[in-house]
């Protein structure tokens, strides 16, 4: 090979820059398409935000309805409303919720941390516990401990999230009084930052565990079957015959191969987790995004609905990218294939 150094680096530069440009274009395109679809979906649903307000006020007249409609921008034709909305999205302006009298960005910003904390904790619990239990069950396939783990994970999978949440509250809050039943922090008490952290953690235990349960079960099942499949492959026999210890085989050979499908599913589900959080946030009065969107949907608070849908879409896109990256880390073949 007689290529000059600069040519090589230039080529590489282009190889990196071009995909990024393409990727950004794709990202923006996808987001705009999603935004348009969201807009059409949201407005296609029957119901009128102005009537909702009237219905909850116990009194209404034509003047109030007309005022509110003008204020919400609902008196303009749909294409005009859509154009206004897309223009805002491009300028990263999520609009203003007249219902809550605040900018949508502020509403989302104050709720997002609580939801991220809840879902990330639940996700970590589900993933670690699920994978560990799955491996334990997989390597003991057919024995009684495997059967027990299988039963437990099936039970967790079948249980409705809200029911599990309520039962945990009954046991740990009402009967034992160990953990707070709802809320995210004790209200009206002066606390040092460290105490506050502990207080939030205590409040986090029950909702995060409830939310994690279903996913934990899924990951455990998935890991188990994947482990069983990998265990019977030739390279494991080779490793065994090389005299590697069981622990070493599991960690470096079985798990690394078995975890790929789990990563795929987990990556897809990370987005869905936020959706599942709606129920948990309601049961545990957790002040997160899930409840904000639930209320917004009921009230047909269009700017808030659209804002959250958009933020969620972006989160899902980003999560997919992260999943891709993790794939490449775990399995170098993916990167190779992608390059070729």
């Amino acid at each position: 090979m007689s290529m000059s150094a600069s040519a090589v680096s230039g080529g590489r530069g282009a190889a990196i820059v071009l995909p990024i440009v393409g990727w950004v274009a794709k990202f923006v395109g996808v987001v705009l398409v999603i935004a348009t679809f969201n807009f059409i979906l949201v407005h296609a649903a029957p119901g009128d935000p102005v009537q909702v307000i009237a219905s909850q006020s116990g009194a209404a007249d034509a003047k109030l309805l007309a005022q509110l409609r003008a204020e919400y921008g609902l008196d303009k034709p749909y294409p005009v409303q859509l154009a206004i909305y897309l223009k805002r999205v491009v300028t990263l302006d999520l609009g203003y919720s007249y219902r809550q009298q605040r900018p949508v960005r502020a509403l989302i910003a104050e709720r997002l941390p609580a939801t991220l904390l809840l879902t990330a904790t639940a996700f970590l619990i589900a993933l670690t516990a699920g994978v560990v239990l799955g491996v334990l069950a997989g390597v003991r396939a057919g024995r009684w401990s495997d059967t027990l783990l299988t039963i437990v994970s099936l039970l967790l999978y079948a249980m409705p999230v809200f029911w599990l949440g309520l039962m945990l509250v009954l046991l740990f809050s009402v009967k034992l009084d160990w953990l707070p039943a709802f809320g995210y922090v004790t209200i009206g008490v002066e606390m040092s930052p460290l105490q506050r952290l502990g207080d939030i953690a205590a409040h986090l235990v029950l909702p995060a565990t409830s939310l994690a349960a279903v996913y934990l079960a899924i990951y455990a099942r998935l890991t188990r079957s994947s482990v069983i499949e990998v265990m019977h492959q030739d390279f494991i026999k080779t490793a065994r015959s090389k005299g590697l210890t069981q622990g070493n085989i599991i960690a470096r050979h079985i798990l690394r191969n078995a975890i790929l499908p789990v990563v795929t599913v987990a990556g897809m589900q990370a987005g869905a987790l936020v959706g599942g959080a709606v129920v948990i946030e309601t049961v545990f009065a957790w002040p997160g995004l899930g409840r904000l969107i639930y209320d917004a949907v009921l009230q047909r608070d269009y700017p808030v609905m659209l804002g959250i849908f958009l933020v969620m879409s972006v989160i899902v896109i980003v999560l997919n990218l992260i999943t891709d990256a993790i794939y490449r880390l775990i399995d170098p073949r993916v990167a190779l294939r992608a390059a070729s």
């Binding site: 029957p46 003047k63 009065a285 949907v297």
Partner: protein, 528 residues
């Protein structure tokens, strides 16, 4: 506090209660200090009651905003911001004398100008219920900073009943005058003159109110702070009450099916008083425009086919009373001597036969969709009860689910056959009752108007005369007449005068003292 101390305190409070409260300003009895934890559900969008009249906004905003009068359980006026008031002989001039030293939360004194601005400028612009009343004001004057004189164009009997803090909250003129009221940035701070002011609002979690130090009633408020917690799940709300995390619940915080169980708790007491101004009437709304519901006999048949006593016991767990007509027995001008509709399937069938609505081969006479309002479990159960009841006389009711937005749109636009509705009486038939029956209030797109589409010139005339009649006797006569006609015509199938439970911690004193109950200002509320 141990039990003995508690007993002593309640004795002391009881003894002070006996002396009674003379008119005028007195230091109210009660121990100072403490935090009241309660529930707000659903979370209100803003706290300015002048701009938003959703139920939770009124409950919470009642602590922040006050008005000229309060009303006892019989809807008789009591002093509020106004220490006294006079009504002229011709019932057209109302003079209110304010208490001195009233201040807003920002320290500015409240004067007659703020009252006039609120009542004649801001509220008619922003408050649908107040608009109907205050547009009748011809002029308002302030001869001195503590006196307000309203002159009406024509006499309007319910005028004196419109000054509770949910109908006429007084807002600071210096903050709102000349601004776009709804977009005023001060709305986030919710500056009123009530006994409590907003300290912090963590959305989705809680609203924290603290004592307004400059409150005009000596010694009040007794409580240091009130925390309204947002608890969306009904089961969690019941747990909160059981555990003592909250000391007060209101409206539907506790679902009807949990009421009997929680009423057994040793630390709380339950009352259904304090809803007299609202006096919610639960009814089955029939679209009078559509056959066969346009026939009086059909509506009478429906009235006879539903065992409303059983409905009250089975579905509402006894929380309420069977409604006998358009006016609630808890409010003024109720007429009990009207046509009675006893539960009778035979009578119902006879009426339907008489109409020529004969059963088909499958036993069904007619099939009618029923829009189930999405306001919780009770509405679903009531719908199922009604479907079964009407099924027995051959009326096939088909339940349709929807959400709040869908229900409100369909109901407002007359796009329904049968649905349930809960409508407030608002203290006077001229405000809360006539709106459902008069022809001039048949307005498409407007909820709580005459959505059933009933129209009867005689009813229109009686309601109109009663609203402007100057003596209560005359009004009673007119309202009695109109109630008799309406009960005969059954434009609406009245079901239940619904009660709502307030659970209060037994240590709490003076919580439910007026016709607006939990919406009241709470300055006199105390622990012990």
């Amino acid at each position: 506090m141990n039990r003995r101390e508690f007993a002593k305190l309640s004795l002391a409070a009881g003894a002070m209660g006996i002396t009674g409260f003379p008119l005028g300003i007195t230091r109210s009895a009660g121990q100072a200090g403490g935090t009241l934890n309660t529930i707000i559900q659903p979370e209100p969008p803003i706290l300015v009651t002048a701009l938003n009249q959703q139920q939770p906004t009124l409950t919470l905003g009642g602590k922040i905003y006050e008005s000229l009068l309060r009303y006892d359980f019989d809807l008789k006026p009591l002093p509020g911001l106004a220490q006294s008031w006079e009504v002229s002989e011709d019932r057209k001039t109302y003079t209110f004398k304010l208490y001195p030293n009233i201040t807003f939360h920002d320290g500015t004194p409240l004067t007659a100008d703020d009252v006039i601005f609120s009542v004649t400028k801001l509220l008619p612009e922003t408050h649908a219920r107040a608009r109907g009343i205050f547009v009748r004001v011809e002029s308002a004057e302030a001869p001195d900073p503590l006196t307000v004189v309203f002159k009406l164009k024509t006499p309007f009997a319910p005028f004196l009943g419109a000054f509770d803090c949910t109908t006429a909250p007084i807002v600071p003129k210096h903050i709102y005058e000349g601004t776009d009221y709804r977009k005023n940035p001060a709305n986030q701070k919710a500056i009123g003159c009530g006994p409590f002011k907003l300290k912090e609002w963590v959305r989705g979690s809680h609203v924290h109110l603290v004592k307004h130090e400059g409150y005009y009633r000596p010694g009040e408020p007794h409580l240091d702070e009130i925390i309204y917690r947002v608890i969306p799940d009904a089961a969690s709300r019941s747990v909160a009450l059981e555990q003592g995390t909250v000391q007060l619940t209101q409206w539907s915080d506790v679902e009807a099916f949990d009421v009997q169980r929680l009423a057994q708790l040793p630390n709380v007491s339950m009352t259904t008083k304090g809803y007299e101004l609202f006096a919610p009437h639960q009814w089955l709304e029939l679209n009078n425009r559509i056959a066969p519901m346009n026939d009086k006999r059909f509506r009478q048949a429906v009235m006879s086919a539903i065992d409303r006593k059983a409905l009250l016991q089975r579905v509402y767990f006894g929380l309420g009373k069977v409604a006998t007509g358009p006016v609630s027995s808890k409010t003024r001008f109720y007429e009990k001597d009207v046509k009675q509709y006893e539960y009778s399937l035979d009578k119902a069938k006879a009426l339907l036969d008489d109409m020529g609505l004969k059963p088909g081969p499958d036993g069904k006479r007619v099939s009618i969709p029923y829009l189930v309002p999405p306001y919780g479990e009770i509405y679903q159960r009531a719908a199922e009860f009604i479907r079964q009841s009407l099924g027995r006389v051959g009326i096939d009711v088909q339940l349709q689910g929807t959400d709040i937005a869908g229900w409100a749109e369909k109901c407002g636009n007359w796009d329904f056959s049968m649905t349930m509705n809960l409508v407030y009486q608002l203290g006077d038939p001229a405000i809360g009752v006539s709106r459902t029956y008069i022809s001039s209030n048949i307005r498409k797109g407007v909820l709580f108007s005459n959505t059933a589409g009933y129209s009867n010139p005689e009813v229109d005339r009686l309601f109109e005369e009663a609203a402007v009649a100057t003596s209560d006797d005359k009004r009673q006569e007119l309202y009695s007449a109109v109630q008799k006609i309406l009960v005969e015509d059954v434009p609406i199938v009245w079901l239940i005068e619904q009660d709502y439970p307030n659970f209060t911690d037994k240590r709490l004193k003076n919580v439910i003292t007026t016709a607006i109950g939990v919406h009241e200002t709470f300055g006199a509320v105390s622990f012990g």
